[in-house]
Symmetry: C2
DNA sequence: TTGTAAGCGTTATCAA
DNA sequence: TTGATAACGCTTACAA
């Protein structure tokens, strides 16, 4: 009598297991149908007779049955889980809204979001690689170009679809959703030039960074077009965060001949930069005009309010996620690169040059 | 010849499947051992002969084998995944650091973090409930008391361990890591009282909110101890975010007789409040002293810099996560409530009352 | 120390 | 439309 033997085994097993969970077989028994029918009633409601379906659903409700996800995943081979990789420097005021866009889009589609925060511990990259190669992940979103790799293997080698957000990745062929960094930075710069500023500072992002390269190219193009000479330009290093904005501000204060207009490539830096030079006795925008880049909420609450490039942060996340969903469904995509537009938000921190 | 039949099946299956993944059997064959030995060599390295272990590991490296997580999970019954539930209002500048604390602690222990952001779509709560009841989650962290529930079932009913962070949950018996809200708010209030302020405003959090209740109790206790009368106090409503700080600031400006000291129960609100009343012509701290609550980075870069309660944000996250790890290991815990201490950070936004 | 083989709970194939 | 049954890939008694 095999079923008696099974029952005994189950009881023996019950101790170590988390809870006496209800399995599909329990529902089947309660509804007087086979497990196959229960499965069908839940997955393809119209492939079973209405009365059977109702009996099954009643049993499901009655018993509080939820299909075991590991078993389903093992069987069908997909986890409905997306890994979101964010770099070690992750600039919360900016990315929070990008992440919200991702979360809204993926939630709607019934996908779970696994956080792959790089730089939170030693073996994190190896761990993420194992996660992906272990089949736990159906697709990944790489923020700011962050692609986990370990011993020469990247998550891309697993063959799962990946979409970059905010930056292209190092790996060729991976689609990305980015903002028109170069044009935005030209806009920042042109705004200052149009206000008569002929002596500019540029507060940079990390060297080699994708966004930094694009933005710097835009800056260079614009100042060249305006006929500024190398002497009219100062480059100050930074890495997008508050602390580097302070450093840049101090470097600015130490300059012998100070520019009147400053192009800053992140809002965090711009805010810290402004605070620092104001503590150094300069007035913004009377002495120095500052234009930021990002459009974080905070820019409205500093003194003076920050003129900046507003990035479509939510949309960067949501369109990236939707592209990934498309890829995971096996659909092709038209363009490898999706470019969204930023826009200049004119507020108080930039004004006409003093004469 | 059963193996021939199997091979045919596998080839047929190959098309729909993601990739021709390497399975434990492939490694076993390459190393000339059984699958059991491969499994042991990976999980209990010292239970196999050194030479076997080396042969196995070589094959693993050679083939790039990673165990399938769904199969392992199905077998052992745990997912090594923790759900982090954050409420709809999630106040990124504050929580980002709490989340980092969580991530660092859980990463170290080899756990994955699944983001359960409430308020990002219709069926999100049902989805999270299914995730938990589907066995996909080993434990959960509830930020600010957010416990997903659906049709009368909460994630707690599944029996997984849960720890609250930043607030106790509605469900009795669930342990939590909180800050000493009441004492912190007394400290805020006392600081203003000691500077001679006898007419105070209190900018509140959402009514009924755990932190709001505690902080308001602290405020009340302190003003009562100082002998202030109901007329000496104004309550302004808020919900911890920037926008409500603006509203509170406008309400403040509209008062006939304005308090000289303001206790604000979040930094976001405090920053927006300050910006708003300054635009209304008031000077901080000369006309009005403001004390915030949270200790977000930003407070250093506004004008004037924000005097505030600094919460141990990273530690709130990491100790909560460590408690959960303990619970998931089946260990008991001594106290249901772990209370961390906040501290007053004296900066520029609060000063002696004008006489 | 190692191998054999029985599940873990689903879903999908095939037959009825 | 429904039911029996064979995988999915792994871990772990139990036997050798």
């Amino acid at each position: 009598m095999p079923s008696a033997k099974k029952t005994i085994k189950r009881i023996q097993k019950r101790v170590p297991r988390k809870a006496a969970n209800i399995r599909i077989g329990d529902v089947a028994r309660a509804a007087g149908v086979s497990t196959a029918t229960v499965s069908r009633a839940l997955t393809f409601p119209d492939r079973v007779l209405e009365q059977t379906r109702e009996r099954v659903l009643a049993a499901v409700r009655e018993l509080g049955y939820t299909p075991n996800s590991a078993a389903r995943q093992l069987r069908v081979g997909t986890s409905r889980t997306v890994l979101v990789v964010v770099g070690a420097r992750h600039n919360p005021p900016f990315f929070s809204e990008v992440l919200r866009g991702i979360d809204v889009a993926l939630s709607q589609a019934g996908y779970a979001v696994l956080m792959g925060n790089l730089g939170s511990g030693e073996g994190k990259e190896k761990y993420l690689i194992d996660l992906v190669f272990g089949g736990h992940i159906d697709g990944a979103l790489a923020l700011s170009g962050a692609i986990p790799s370990h011993e020469g293997r990247t998550i891309a080698d697993s063959g799962i679809p990946i979409v970059g957000i905010c930056a292209e990745t190092d790996i060729v062929g991976i689609p990305a959703v980015v903002v028109d960094d170069e044009i935005c930075c030209r806009t920042q710069t042109r705004y200052l030039l149009e206000m008569g500023h002929r002596h500019l500072a540029y507060v940079a992002g990390p060297r080699g960074n994708y966004n930094e390269c694009r933005r710097h190219a835009g800056f260079q193009a614009e100042v060249a077009a305006a006929g500024l000479k190398p002497d009219d330009i100062v480059r100050l290093e930074g890495n997008y965060d508050f602390a580097s904005g302070v450093t840049a501000g101090e470097a600015f204060l130490a300059l012998e001949r100070r520019p009147t207009g400053v192009v800053v490539t992140s809002d965090e830096m711009a805010i810290a930069f402004m605070a620092t030079i104001r503590r150094g006795g300069l007035k913004v925008p009377q002495d120095v005009s500052v234009v930021g880049f990002d459009g974080i909420e905070l820019g409205d609450f500093v003194e003076p309010t920050l003129t900046t490039i507003r990035q479509p942060r939510f949309e960067l996340g949501s369109t990236g996620a939707n592209l990934l969903l498309q890829l995971m469904r096996g659909e092709a995509m038209e363009n490898r690169l999706t470019v969204l537009n930023g826009a200049l938000d004119k507020r108080e921190s930039a004004g006409p040059v003093k004469r």
